[in-house]
């Protein structure tokens, strides 16, 4: 039977038109904003740029952002491993509910992620008076920033690892145990090598969000310059002070981080796609 070729492939003009429209849309919404960050950052030349990212408040913001990420990411990493271990390797009642609960932070507005901690630990919050008596400050201080960041990045590692480990099953672990390995040996020598790329993938995304989070930390930060301002918050302050070059200079560091994350993510997907859950969903 003869099949009309035009019924199987689109004519050239359709291909070109659709591709051009899609690329124009992406250029307008993705490429231009990204490019404008770097253009605006270097508008006054490299010296102004360098000054903006090395002045004490900016440096403090960079240090704080790194500090928050250094606490939040490992915390969620450990959680992710624990959650995926019990969910993927065992059967128990309520497992699906648990998986749904782990996903909650992704469906909650970042502002609410910060709000809940203010309501809990803030001055008028439920535990506020108790904390004030003890002289413990959580809101408008590092603990609040860390908590809010952990909240918004909560599911990243677990979400990548759960399907991966579910797919890998339990046979290799059982084989290791029969061969005489202990629990920790089994995890370190058999499970971990099998999930390492998925783990890295999850950590990468978790870290990008942790360093770039704005809404949640904005609510709990108190915006004290040089003290509780992370990089995204510092960008906001500079921008609102019409110090555009400095704002875009600090923003360009975050944009650079996003680009590095994207490149690393793409490399992982390209090189180890078969060992990631995300690329096979």
């Amino acid at each position: 039977m003869r099949v009309d070729r035009s019924a199987l492939t689109d004519p050239a003009w359709v291909r070109v038109a659709l591709t051009a429209t899609a690329l124009l849309f992406l250029a307008l919404f993705l490429v231009l904003p990204l490019a404008s960050v770097f253009v605006e950052a270097f508008r006054r030349g490299f010296d102004a740029y360098w000054k903006a990212i090395t002045e004490p408040d900016a440096a403090a913001a960079i240090r704080l952002t790194l500090l928050v990420a250094v606490i939040a990411v490992p915390a969620n990493l450990i959680f992710g491993i624990a959650a995926s271990w019990c969910i993927a390797k065992f059967d128990f009642r309520g497992k699906n509910l648990l998986i749904t609960l782990i996903d909650i932070p992704f469906s909650v507005s970042p502002v609410i992620s910060g709000l809940v901690y203010v309501l809990l630990f803030g001055l008028n919050g439920l535990l506020g008076p108790v904390l004030r008596e003890q002289g413990i400050q959580i809101i408008f201080a590092l603990p609040g920033l860390v908590l809010a960041t952990i909240f918004v990045t909560f599911p990243f590692v677990a979400r990548e690892l759960i399907p991966l480990m579910q797919e890998q099953g339990t046979e290799e672990e059982e084989a290791a145990l029969v061969l005489g390995a202990g629990g920790w040996q089994t995890f370190r020598r058999v499970t971990l090598p099998n999930i390492k790329w998925g783990l890295l993938y999850g950590v990468l995304l978790c870290n990008a969000r942790a360093m770039g989070e704005f809404g949640a930390v904005s609510v709990v930060s108190g915006h004290i310059r040089g003290e509780t301002n992370t990089m995204p918050l510092h960008v906001e302050i500079l921008y609102n002070e019409y110090n555009f070059v400095a704002a875009f200079a600090v923003a360009s560091l975050l944009a650079f981080l996003a680009l590095v994350t994207l490149v690393a993510k793409t490399l992982l997907e390209w090189r180890f796609g078969a060992e990631l859950a995300a690329t096979r969903r």
């Binding site: 039977m1 099949v3 009309d4 035009s6 019924a7 659709l18 899609a22 690329l23 849309f25 992406l26 307008l28 993705l30 904003p33 990204l34 404008s36 960050v37 624990a82 271990w85 019990c86 390797k89 065992f90 059967d91 128990f92 648990l98 609960l101 996903d103 909650i104 932070p105 469906s107 909650v108 507005s109 970042p110 609410i112 709000l115 809940v116 203010v118 309501l119 809990l120 008028n124 919050g125 439920l126 908590l147 909240f151 059982e174 629990g183 089994t186 995890f187 995304l205 770039g212 704005f214 809404g215 609510v219 995204p232 906001e236 921008y239 875009f248 923003a251 975050l254 996003a258 994207l262």
Partner: protein, 292 residues
């Protein structure tokens, strides 16, 4: 053989005498315990505090907070524009997914990777970049002003731009894998049966993509409703016109109106959960309908 898998080699299960080592793989108690404790402390207890706090003002207080004109207007702005942005993303996201899966062009890998930019780029950075672009003196804003007399930044249109930006990857990333898996035989069969290309797309391809498209639309919508960072720079934040719900919460917090903030937050949370439920139902429906 399916029976073999379920009956002959069952997974370790719960519910036998605790005296014996039931599970051969170690670490169940400690990992589940840690997971539940961490989940409770970080997510569940704080969320419970939100609901507790908002119930403190009573139903009438709750209602009067939500029914104030400014709050109502914010809900209209947030949900209305998020809906519009999700619709834009449904159309263009579908287009991008189609082009990425079906056509070959130089730089395709780069474009594919770039689609995830809104996931990776901090929202504050996106916010100031979009504002700079769409402001009346910006690269795009000045052109729009000149050609159409259109003002984007500092109007509801700005919110639309920001929400479109942050929702962009959702539709692409839900439709793309489905499109990839779509067996070409179905389209070939349709063509052999005499359908035109347009009929094939309309009756064979689109229905298969619809569940993914709807999921992506819902995800983009939910993200738009909750978004804060990228919007507040470009919105202009005029009460009643371009003020979004998350900003109302922040404003109430700054005025130490914790109960009011909690009430608005609870309402948003409720909407998010309803969305989540609808999404789950959709995905279930999708699995049943397209079980392969």
């Amino acid at each position: 053989m399916a029976v073999e898998a379920t009956l002959d080699r069952p997974r370790v299960g719960m519910g036998a005498s605790p005296a014996k080592p039931r599970r051969i793989i170690p670490g169940f108690g400690i990992t589940l315990g840690f997971t539940l404790a961490y989940l409770g402390l970080i997510v569940l207890i704080p969320l419970a505090a939100l609901i507790l706090k908002s119930s403190g003002i009573g139903l009438s207080g709750f209602w009067s907070t939500l029914s104030s004109p400014r709050v109502l207007a914010a809900f209209r702005v947030s949900f209305g524009i998020a809906l519009a942005a999700a619709a834009i993303n449904a159309v263009f996201g579908m287009l991008v997914a189609w082009v990425l899966v079906r056509y070959r062009f130089p730089g395709k890998g780069l474009v594919d990777a770039l689609v995830d930019l809104p996931f990776a780029l901090p929202t504050a950075v996106a916010g100031i970049a979009l504002t700079a672009l769409y402001a009346p003196n910006g690269w795009i804003g000045s052109l729009l002003m000149q050609w159409f007399g259109l003002k984007v930044a500092f109007t509801p249109l700005g919110i639309l731009v920001a929400m479109t930006f942050i929702g962009l990857p959702f539709v692409v990333r839900t439709v793309q894998p489905v499109l990839q898996e779509l067996p070409p035989e179905e389209e070939e069969a349709s063509a052999c049966l005499g359908a035109s290309r347009a009929q094939t797309i309309g009756r064979v391809v689109l229905p298969a993509l619809l569940p993914a498209l709807v999921t992506g639309f819902a995800l983009a919508f939910a993200r738009g409703v909750g978004e804060y960072g990228s919007i507040i720079f470009i919105a202009g934040n005029m009460p009643g016109v371009s003020e979004i719900v998350p900003l109302i919460i922040v404003t109430k917090l700054e005025q130490y109106d914790y109960a009011g903030a909690a009430a608005v937050g609870t309402m948003m949370l409720a909407v998010s959960f309803i969305l989540l439920l609808v999404l789950n139902a959709l995905q279930h429906w999708m699995r049943v309908r397209h079980a392969r």
